[in-house]
Structures are given as C-alpha cells and as structure tokens.
C-alpha cells in the first residue's frame, strides 16, 4: 500500500523506474502481478467453455469420441507436451535469473523458450494439422463422406465431425496463444537488450512467464482429454 505522498518522484537513479501513478516500486510490482492474474482469470474463463463443451459432447457421445480420438497420434502429443514443459521450465528459469539480474542468462532462457514454442507449432502444423487437412478431416461441408472414405465406417461420421470441430477450435486457439507467446518472447528479448530504460526490473519477464505457464496449463489438460481419451 502507498506510503508517502511524494516519495515516488524522489527516487535515486539506481532504483528501478516507477511510473508516476505509483508510490514506490513494491506497489508497482504488486499491481502488475495482480493485474496479470486478473487477466489470467479472464483467460481461464476464455478456455473454460471450450473444454466444457468438449467435455459435454465427449460425455454424451463417448463411444464415437473414443474411436475418433484414436485417430490422433498420442506420441506426437506427448512430444509436444515435453517441449512445452521444457519451455515452461526455461521461462521459470528466466524469471529466476532476472530476479538475480543476470540478464544474459535471461535472454538465453527466453530464446530457448521461443525455440521450443516454434518447435511446438512446427510439429503441430507439419505432423498433425497438415495430414488431417490432406485427408480432408477439417470439418467443413462434406466432412462425413471424406471421413468415411479415409477411415471407413468405423463410427458415426456426424459425431466425428463434432470431435474434429472441437479439436481444431481448441488446438487452433491454443496454437494462436503459443504464437503470440513466441512473438512476445522475441519482443521481450529485444527490449531487454536494447532498452534498459523500459525493462528496469524482473516484472515484465514474470508477466510473460505467467502467460506462458498458462499456455502450458491449457495443454496439460488438452493432452489427456484429446489424445488419451479412455472409453
């Protein structure tokens, strides 16, 4: 909480930048973290309905979803999970190093996370989406006949369409978040290197980190629900 009236403006040059609306650096840092969490609550509520809708349909059409979900390759899913977990650890390390003010290591870790994010997207695109598109499994009109042509009549294609609709909606939105995360990593690294007047403390890295962990969190639920669905 705010302490004194004018202290915010009378700071020594070695202290981190305090924006004029704040009293001191503690207040500023805490406010940013609270704001970020409020944003993440909003992100939880953003992905929540998608998972809920998926869960509802999976419950109601369990048999079909079970068959259809095994058309996804769980090995690729596990590989991508590993990549995201590594990147999440790297981001946590970046925050750790930034708190110790070892900026070189921060940038290395952020680069590592950005590379992981890119690898995730590449694997997703090349080994998962592209073959599905090739086989006509994107749920546009005519999906049912394409599904029957490719997999044969192993299940109800109407409901399989529902599965693939949810699959592309959720993984697509998640991939969009990954893409945004990678772009933010690159942007943050640039800022850390070029603009020490903007990045004056660890909080920007912490906020980016929170965002990235959230992206990881979505995948943690997405992976078992889509790739490992039991009957």
């Amino acid at each position: 909480m705010a302490a004194h009236a004018h202290d915010g403006h009378l700071r020594s040059p070695d202290m981190p930048e305090v924006y004029p609306q704040f009293e001191d650096i503690d207040q500023q840092q805490e406010t940013y973290i609270v704001g970020m969490w409020a944003f993440l609550v909003n992100e939880v509520m953003f992905f929540g309905p998608l998972f809920f809708i998926y869960g509802l349909y999976a419950w109601k059409h369990n048999a079909v979803f079970y068959v259809t979900s095994h058309h996804l390759d769980y090995k690729i899913g596990a590989l991508n999970t590993t990549i995201l977990l590594i990147s999440s650890w790297m981001v946590a390390m970046a925050v750790h190093y930034h708190q110790k003010n070892q900026l070189k290591k921060v940038c290395n870790m952020l680069w590592g996370a950005a590379v992981c994010g890119t690898a995730f997207l590449a694997i997703k695109l090349i080994f998962e989406w592209a073959p599905k598109f090739d086989h006509g499994l994107f749920p546009t009109p005519g999906f049912q006949s394409r599904y029957l042509a490719y997999y044969g009549a192993d299940t109800n294609p109407d409901v399989a369409r529902l599965f693939f609709s949810m699959y592309f909606a959720i993984t697509g939105l998640h991939a969009l978040h990954v893409l945004i995360g990678v772009l933010i990593f690159v942007w943050l690294i640039r800022l850390i290197k070029k603009r020490p007047d903007v990045i004056t403390d660890y909080v920007p890295t912490e906020m980016v980190g929170l965002y990235w962990h959230f992206v990881d969190l979505v995948w943690i639920f997405l992976f078992p629900l889509f790739y490992l669905m039991p009957k």
């Binding site: 302490a3 609306q21 406010t31 998608l50 749920p139 546009t140 909606a169």
Partner: protein
C-alpha cells in the same frame, strides 16, 4: 440561477489565472489521442458512448414509428429485423456496458480512492481504441446491410441461415468485449493496490464497491461470451459444427454459454448505476448511506448470484424443467440484495434534508423505475408466468425499466452530479430539472403501455399486428411517449454543451459533498489529480461533519421554491 454558493465560487476563482488542469494541460489533438490520463480517456469515452447512444436511439425511433400502424407499412420485415438488432446490439454492447464504468468509472475511481491515475494507463487507452475499432466494425456491418439475428445471436439462425453481416458484427462485439475486460482488469488492480493511505475497504465510497463487483463480473463473464461468439463466427465461416444441429451440435448449449455471460452482463450494466445512486442519494439527503456494509456486500452478492440465474432466460428453450426450477429459485434470491439496496436508499432519505436538484431527480426516478423493473422481473423468474409472458412486450418493458429506467437514469444523474467536477462549470439547473422530469414522464409513457401489450400477448420482434388491431392504441401511446423521451435525452446535450462555454465556474465542491474527488481535488482536477496523495482519516459519507451542510441545503431549497 443566482445561488450564493456559486457566486462565492466565482469570486474565489475569478482573480486567479486559469489553473492548469487536465483539460488545458495540452491542447493538441495528439495529446488527446495518445493520452494516458484516465480523465481524458473518460472524456473520449463520453463522446463515443453518446454517439452510440443516439445511433441506437435512431434505430429505436424507426421501431416505434413502424409499430404505430398494425399493418407494418413503413419498413419491410427484414429491415425491421435489422433495426431492432441494431438497436439492441448498439445499446447493450456499445452504450450500456461501457457507459457508466468507462466514462464515470474511469474518471472517478482514481479520484475517489486517492490515486494519481488508474494502474495501467496505456491499457486504459488501448481499451478505448479496441472499443472504437469494435464500434467501427459494427458500423461497417450496418452500412454493408446490417444484422438480423437480434442481439442474442441464437444459433442456428445466426450461424447457418442468416444472410446478413453477422461475422463482421461478431468480430466487433468480440473487440468490444475485450475493451470491457481491459477496463475490468484495470479497475481491479487499481482498487486493490492504489488506494490512498487510510482508504480502507470500508472507507471506500459505495460507487467504488459497485465498480469492483462490476469488474469481477467483466473478467469472469465476458470471456465466456467472447469465445462463444467466436465459435459462432467459426461455425458460420468454416461450417465447423458446434452449435447447429445440422452440423452435429446443440443450439441449447449456445444459449447456455451465451446467457452465462449475458445475464451477469445485466449487472455489469446495472451495478455501476447503483453505485452512482448511492453517491447522489447521500449527498442530496445530507446523510450517510444507510447500512453501508449491507449495500457494499449486496453489490458483491448480486455479482455472485448473477452467475447462477442464467437459465431463467431459457424456460421455453427445451432445457430440463428440473434445472428450470433451480434457476427459478435462485432468480428469486437475487431480489434480496436488490431490495436491500432499494430499502437502504429509501432509508438514506428518511429524516434527511432532501434537495431536489437535477441529479437527485434522476436518482429518485431510478429508484421508482428500477423498483418496477425489478418487481416485474419476479413475474418472469416464476416459470409459470414466464411461459405466458416470455417473448412478449412484457419482457421488453421489463428490461427497459431496468436498463433505461435504471442504468440510463443513473448515467444521466451521475453525469449531472459530476459534470462540475469533470469540466469545472455548472449547467443550467432549471433546464436540468426540466430534462430529468421530461425523461421520467416520457419513459413511463413509452414503456408502461408495453407491459399491458405484453400481458395481452403481443410478441416482441414482430413488425405488424393486424391480427389484433386493438393493440394499436397502446402502441401509439408508446410511440408518443418515446418522442417525449427522445426530447428529454436531447435536452442535456444542449445545456451541458452550453455550460462548457458559459456556465458559472463550479469551484471544487459545488454540492457540499463528501469524498476525495470533491474535498481534495480541484474542478477540473489537475493531471495527476491531487497536489500530493491525500490521507484519509475519517469515515466515508461524513455529512454530519460538513459545516455548511445546513446552509447548502437552505440555498438549494430556495432555488427549488423560487
């Protein structure tokens, strides 16, 4: 208009050189469009929402004009559908949700809690740009032919059958939703972390409490509707199936997801208005708000319960009757915190020295109209009566009593109350009172007949009713009333704008009100709000401690009786 208070204020202010404040700190257009100052962003929002309000009003005028005749001769069916859709979408997403939080909330929350600005000024500015981009996209959608699926965008009409510009409109609403989320995040961080020394939670004005509750709803609810509308857009664009039965989905699920947000959204619109009323009631009754903690917690209770009642929009949607019963019970429960507020405002006036100034007339109007709106809501939360009344003009009248009679009255009341603070000038009290009364009378003439129409069974969204020409008299009454209402809404534009140029200088506290924004800040406030952060030592609404309270009341009464 020769109040001694104002004359004194003029004498105090006149000799000094024009004070530097947020309005004259910098005059360039760029300084407005790139500002981080919450007060300037509030003014930008004020201009935007006023524009959208009148745009939505024009659509309403067409609706009312069409309904004067049972044959529906003015517009064809499709144009009529587009008109009421445009009216609903603009008024809800681009006026009501933004009006009080983004204009008055933006301006006042830092002032009320003793902060120099909101926590994230650039996010605040970004929210305005996102809002405007959303509004622009929707206006483009209107120009390209409009939207005919109503503001609720029920599938499969919106996703498969409608041939209008729904995708563009959905993107616009998505952006408007994000603007509301940004404002919510900003308010939450600000209220938690930026309060001045001594400003404890229970010393905060109730206005801030209600905005806190609103922001919680905004971040918990808005993303749900955002993703739902996005899925509708995907279903429409790519024909992936999620909500349409032809594509394998379930349309009732869309309604669940939509109302999960859109019922709490009613409280996003209403709660800030309730905060405004608390402030006005206590100032013009010269008494603290009765039962402060009850009013504060009733805001939080409304926010929480509001998330558990969405099913009462869906009694006839084929949702299970068992769920309907539960939603009905919880809907009745919402009446409890709402009633706490109404009773506490009434008791605030009891034994108070009530002054019938412009904001107070608006606030009293709110009290009456909101009570009617709330009580008719009970008819609709009971399943049995709802099956008769749902989808009729009874619903239309009910939510207009809550939305217009509640939110718009509160917005206008708040705008009049804080206008001297925002721009440092007093408006014409005479015209202010006239407009408040005209709005009240016009409103009742417009919407009361619609209760009767709805009871008689006139469906909403129909543009002719030649099967029952006896409804015409009520429709003509309603249209006539809406003309009066429109004039009432136009009047403040003129006298408020005039006051900017030639109104008497207001001075820091023309109403003798309590609160940091009146007692510690100039009118208009300086860019960083205060000369140094104020320290709060006493309770809020400490009207007994204000020495000139009695003389203020006497002067105001003289003005009324004159």
């Amino acid at each position: 208009m020769s109040s001694t208070v104002i004359e004194q204020a003029v004498e105090r202010e006149e000799p000094a050189a024009p004070q530097k404040n947020y309005l004259n700190a910098d005059h360039t257009i760029k300084s407005w469009l790139l500002t981080g100052d919450h007060k300037r962003i509030a003014v930008l929002y004020l201009i935007s929402v006023t524009f959208f309000f009148f745009l939505g009003g024009i659509a309403a005028a067409f609706i009312r004009a069409e309904l004067t005749s049972p044959m529906g001769t003015l517009l064809n069916s499709e144009t009529y559908n587009k008109m009421f859709s445009a009216h609903g979408i603009i008024m809800i997403f681009f006026f009501l949700i933004a009006a009080i939080p983004a204009v008055l909330g933006n301006f006042l929350i830092p002032l009320m809690i003793g902060a120099r600005d909101l926590a994230f000024p650039r996010l605040n500015l970004a929210s305005w740009y996102v809002f405007m981009l959303g509004g622009l996209l929707f206006i483009i959608a209107l120009i390209l032919g409009g939207v005919d699926a109503g503001w609720t965008f029920y599938t499969p009409l919106s996703s498969l059958y409608s041939q209008t510009q729904i995708t563009l409109a959905l993107v616009g609403l998505f952006l408007a939703g994000f603007s509301s989320i940004m404002t919510g995040v900003n308010f939450i961080a600000t209220i938690h972390k930026m309060r001045a020394p001594g400003m404890t939670w229970f010393r905060m004005p109730l206005y801030v409490w209600s905005h806190y509750a609103t922001s919680i709803i905004a971040i918990l609810g808005t993303p749900v509707v955002a993703i739902t509308l996005l899925l509708v857009a995907l279903e429409r664009g790519l024909r992936i199936g999620i909500f349409s039965p032809e594509l394998g989905g379930d349309p009732v699920l869309f309604q669940h997801m939509f109302w999960f947000y859109s019922h709490p959204a009613v409280y996003i619109m209403l709660l800030p208005g309730m905060g405004v009323i608390s402030e006005i009631m206590s100032c013009f009754s010269r008494r603290p708000v009765f039962g402060y903690k009850f009013v504060a917690f009733s805001s939080m209770a409304i926010a929480g319960l509001g998330f558990l009642v969405w099913g009462h929009h869906m009694y006839v949607s084929s949702q299970s009757v068992f769920q309907g019963i539960i939603f009905s019970l919880i809907s009745f429960l919402v009446a409890v915190p709402s009633a706490i507020k109404v009773f506490n405002w009434s008791l605030t006036m009891w034994k108070g020295s009530v002054v019938f100034s412009t904001p107070m007339i608006y606030a009293l109007g709110f009290l009456g109209l909101f009570t009617i709106g709330g009580l008719t809501g009970l008819y609709l939360s009971a399943i049995g009566t709802d099956i008769h009344l749902t989808g009729t003009y009874f619903i239309v009248a009910h939510f207009h009593y809550v939305m217009v009679g509640g939110t718009v009255m509160a917005f206008l009341g708040g705008l009049h109350f804080w206008w001297p603070k925002m721009f440092g000038r007093m408006y014409s009290e005479f015209w202010g009172r006239i407009s408040a009364i005209v709005v009240f009378v016009g409103f009742n003439f417009t919407f009361f007949p619609q209760f009767i129409l709805g009871y008689l069974g006139m469906p909403r969204r129909y543009h002719y009713y030649y099967i029952a020409p006896e409804w015409q008299v009520y429709n003509v009454l309603s249209t006539a009333g809406s003309t009066v209402l429109g004039i009432g809404f136009l009047m403040p534009v003129f006298y408020l704008l005039k006051s900017l140029k030639s109104g008497p200088i207001a001075g820091p506290n023309p109403w003798g009100a309590t609160g940091l924004e009146w007692e510690a800040a100039a009118s208009p406030p300086v860019t960083l709000n205060f000369d140094g952060i104020p320290k709060v030592v006493g309770p809020v609404y400490n009207y007994d401690a204000i020495e000139d309270s009695e003389s203020f009341r006497r002067e105001q009464m003289e003005k009324v009786t004159k």
